[in-house]
Amino acid sequence: MSETKKFLYVNRKAPYGTIYALESLEVVLIGAAFEQDVSMAFLDDGVFQLTKGQNTEAIGVKNFSPTFRALGDYEVTKLYVEMESLEERGLGPDDLQEITYEDEDDDWEEKPSIRIVSRTEMADIMADQDVVLSF
């Protein structure tokens, strides 16, 4: 039996209004060292975490959205974003940051980390995990 488990980090909350998004990201970064099979799910208000053009200067809170672009370096390369959640919020894939990783199995080609999925696909992804952490 393999020692590798499938970990899913489920993000359903918007950034800045509460700390869950930031502290979720802190878990993912630490968790990367454990070499598990990591995925992140963004649905409901969680999709707001990945939007472009965040500027927190006026509210005096640290802008952590650039950190998502560093996830590839931690081998966190599967960021599933639910299409229905985007649409309900008047958003589309173009409103999200570009996040990429270099695929070591494919001559370090740069590939997108964000994968837009349907609600049905998201349910399938959730049902395929060993450990689900909710934020």
Binding site: R12, L43, R119, Q129
Partner: protein, 102 residues
């Protein structure tokens, strides 16, 4: 392979129960705990969503939380089953994973 989903928010001001239901798969179970137990109320505006998902998904309430809030069996949807903390533990053990809809 199946999932135990827990929902701890009232479904009237918060979308967690609906989002949970929309991501359940046949054979899954949903356990309503804390303020989530209000989702078991008969005759409410979320009744339809709960009933519609019930044929393929088992819905439970945590008995202590329901009683704390004055929701006795007579006030609940007949599709909803009741468990204590020990039944909660059994549900965790008999499903392959637990997902909390926080």
């Amino acid at each position: 392979m199946s999932t135990l989903h827990t929902v701890n928010k009232s479904p009237f001001g918060n979308g967690a129960l609906l989002s949970c239901i929309n991501h359940c798969k046949p054979g899954d179970a949903v356990l309503l705990i804390e303020d989530g137990v209000y989702g078991a109320l008969a005759g409410s505006v979320v009744e339809h969503a709960v009933i519609t998902c019930a044929p393929s998904v088992s819905i439970y309430v945590l008995e202590g939380d329901a009683e704390a809030r004055g929701i006795g069996p007579a006030k609940r949807l007949p599709d909803v089953q009741s468990v204590g903390y020990d039944g909660f533990v059994d549900l965790v053990a008999t499903h392959d994973r637990t997902q909390a809809w926080l």
